[in-house]
Symmetry: C2
Subunit: 152 residues, 2 copies
Amino acid sequence: MNITTKGHYGVMAMTELAMHDGKGPVPLKTIAENQGLSEHYLEQLFAPLRRAGLVRSVRGAQGGYLLGRPAREISVGDVLRVLEGPLAPIECALDGNPEEWENCTNPYNCLVRDVWVKLYKTIEEVVNGVTLEELCQKAREAQARRNPMFYI
Amino acid sequence: MNITTKGHYGVMAMTELAMHDGKGPVPLKTIAENQGLSEHYLEQLFAPLRRAGLVRSVRGAQGGYLLGRPAREISVGDVLRVLEGPLAPIECALDGNPEEWENCTNPYNCLVRDVWVKLYKTIEEVVNGVTLEELCQKAREAQARRNPMFYI
DNA sequence: CGTAATCCCAAGTGTGTGGGTCGGAATTAT
DNA sequence: ATAATTCCGACCCACACACTTGGGATTACG
């Protein structure tokens, strides 16, 4: 049940973007330096994020990335689904095209499947329930407390 | 966020064991045939399950495996933790020894970590909340309904 | 207009894991 | 003695992860 660095870094980077919302584009170099990540690797993550409309890009010098829509309208789940794919524990727990699984001849499978479906729904609830705006809010609170961790 | 075939097959096999609870040991061959799985692969899964005390083995002819404790006291989470390892989405969301992560200098990481911790707890709640007994119960209901899927 | 900063794109790479297979040794009921 | 089992360790191959490398296209700024 793990998420990979793609989803992890993706959410972190998106949070930093959200922190700069309304202040012009943020280059990946800045994010990479601030968070100790590889700039080139971040590029790979931002390609699908852009295609999904979660970010907008501005090319050329002084360019960078902007949120594609308000921070309150982007959830952690949105980012994860783009970078990690569907969050179902196993494929046959997905909603769509269950035809593929209709000829499933293993009764135990279909019995246990209900557990995965329940798990899937719960995971979705959690990650859809946290927005970038909320993460920003917490970040600012930490800053306000002059938390030394926050050198942002 | 996927579980692998280990956890999946493991829970299915354990459910079949639970269905035969009190009726003597069930050989892996039977489970493998009933569910269309590889007997050798199942062996690999039952080694750790036995070490964890979730099953007991009876060697030799007419041998097989038995539940290590009552079906009501074995949850899906128990099986998953043995076969999949900890169910935390990322390592630093685990409970124990957070010292390793104390020198985490990335503020965004620690912010986002809260989401993973929440996710971790929710996942645990779901999988710990389903016991083999409940799965058996549902299996028997399906049988009672003469569900053709159930040739068990 | 040149240059530097940036995004964009396509490959390559090394390590690990997933999902098994294979062959055989030890144990035991019949 | 034989057959049915568990037990054990090795092997294997394809694919995913977590990047790196090398460049091309675009644009602000001097």
